[in-house]
């Protein structure tokens, strides 16, 4: 279920110009994703954890969101150290744990958590229309913005339709197995879902046109230009510069 728990709030971060937030979250994420050295990654992790404080996020809720990532990370930690090429540091029967694999896992985990946290602090603190509006103003192509926002809203409607179709199949005694009939049924289900989703998309677009939509999103939230934006920009620029320095000029 899609909720905008973090979007409602009145912290310093909430009051920052959304454009500033989007720009710095993006820059930060790219930098983190492209960095390999541990000092940089530790520093980035630290910065993103610190960001949670001024955004006054509910720690428990933030933890819940990190949990989704946790399972994915667990999978990586289970697979990569065993399958990666490199020096063996530990042997467990037929399995050999490789050092390079462990290093890669640690890097991926640090990067993923840092990026997720910075997005939580900076982006999930605005509601989705504001985000669309901001992307519009940052000259992201209208079609992409549109696609993004509508996906966000309708993914659950499509899920509901999927459930309805699945129930319809179940109540007529369908049991999935490894036979042609099952494969065919699954294919029909998927096909029908696509058809329904596209019909739905058409109708939503028509409904939007009927209400005067002409390709641009507007935001209801007003953001006044203030010194906070400038200060935040300076701090973030400095942080990003430091991270770049650590990454590319090792002492």
């Amino acid at each position: 279920m899609i909720q905008e728990t973090f979007a409602i709030g009145d912290s310093i971060i909430h009051r920052l110009d959304p454009r500033v937030r989007v720009v710095f979250a993006t820059l930060f994420s790219f930098l983190v994703a492209l960095s390999d050295r541990f000092p940089t990654l530790y520093a980035a992790f630290g910065i993103s954890v610190l960001m949670i404080i001024p955004a006054r996020l509910d720690i428990r809720e933030a933890g819940k969101r990190l949990k989704t990532l946790f399972w994915f990370m667990l999978l990586i930690w289970m697979v990569l150290p065993l399958t990666f090429e490199g020096d063996t540091i530990y042997r467990l029967g037929v399995f050999a744990v490789k050092r390079q694999g462990l290093v890669l896992c640690a890097q991926i985990t640090l990067k993923a958590v840092s990026i997720l946290l910075i997005f939580m602090a900076l982006l999930s603190t605005m509601n989705i229309n504001t985000l669309g509006h901001t992307l519009n103003r940052l000259s992201v192509p209208g079609k992409l913005v549109h696609l993004f926002l509508i996906t966000y809203r309708y993914i659950f409607v499509i899920e509901e339709e999927y459930r309805r179709l699945r129930t319809a199949i179940k109540i007529r005694g369908f049991k999935s197995g490894t036979n042609l009939h099952s494969y065919k049924t699954h294919a029909y289900l998927l096909g029908m879902l696509f058809v329904r989703a596209s019909i739905r998309a058409e109708r939503v677009h028509e409904a939007m046109l009927c209400r005067g939509f002409h390709g641009r999103f507007y935001s209801l939230d007003g953001y006044k230009p203030s010194r906070k934006n400038r200060n935040f920009s300076i701090i973030m620029t400095a942080a990003i510069a430091c991270l770049t320095f650590i990454e590319y000029y090792p002492i």
Binding site: N127, R203, E206, Y218
Partner: protein, 245 residues
């Protein structure tokens, strides 16, 4: 009430309009003539697949007629540009509220239309709050649209349409799937609106409560229905005989 007075310009006039879906071999709308005058509250009763939703789509410019002339607010409506202006003044309530509500929160959704019409944030917010208030939806502004019940969704959808302050409403089966209480609420809201509208429904009593004249649609044409035919269902001396209408 629907007598065309010569000095009044119809809000909507269809002359010989036909529409055929690509690949179909009959017209779903066939050589249709229809007028809606200011103050008219017209009902359309029709079986499924008789082209009533198509009719609304033609009026909103979402489909283009294969033949005939559509005039809206006294001007021919042909191009997308014509319809962009028309959509500001005609509100269409979709059959499925989930098609209409696409913003996460109620307030954002209701303000969407006014913002598109060029209102600033404050005006849009005020209009949205006022509209919600008029529909008895105070306190709904921060609710999540997809968590609303079916009835609430319908009322919020109506709010999103009314927030654009239209001159004409097109209502496509607004009572479908509503419980009696919500239906009564909807009837109440519609009766108190000072708007012309076309109401599609296949619920006879709902239709007759809310409209002054009722049409039936068959084979792509509209026909004025006699009110007596369906209204009070009394057959004083034949009530013991099974009957059909």
């Amino acid at each position: 009430m629907n007598k065309p007075a010569p000095d009044r310009i119809p809000l909507i006039r269809l002359s010989g309009v036909s529409y055929r879906y690509p690949g179909a071999d009959t017209n779903v709308i066939d050589n249709l003539d229809f007028q809606l005058y200011p103050g008219d509250r017209t009902g359309v009763m029709a079986p499924n697949g008789s082209g009533k939703t198509t009719l609304f789509y033609l009026l909103m410019g979402l489909l283009k007629p294969s033949d005939g002339l559509i005039e809206i607010f006294g001007k021919p409506a042909e191009t997308e540009k014509d319809f962009e202006q028309i959509r500001r003044r005609i509100g269409l309530l979709f059959q499925d509220a989930d098609d209409q509500l696409f913003s996460p929160t109620v307030l954002e959704d209701v303000a969407f239309g006014p913002l598109n019409l060029g209102k600033n944030q404050e005006e849009a917010r005020d209009i949205a709050m006022k509209t919600l208030n008029e529909l008895g939806l105070d306190g709904y502004e921060n609710k999540i649209t997809f968590k609303l019940s079916g009835g609430e969704k319908r009322l919020v959808s109506l709010a999103t349409v009314l927030a654009m302050e239209p001159d004409v409403l097109l209502l496509d089966e607004p009572s479908t799937g509503l419980d009696e209480k919500t239906k009564a609420r909807l009837v109440n809201v519609l009766l108190n609106l000072d708007l012309s509208y076309i109401l599609i429904s296949h619920e006879t009593s709902f239709l007759y409560d809310l409209t002054d004249s009722v049409y039936t649609m068959r084979q792509g044409k509209m026909k004025r229905a006699e009110k007596i035919h369906v209204h009070p269902h009394v057959h004083p001396h034949t009530s013991h005989i099974r009957h059909h209408h």
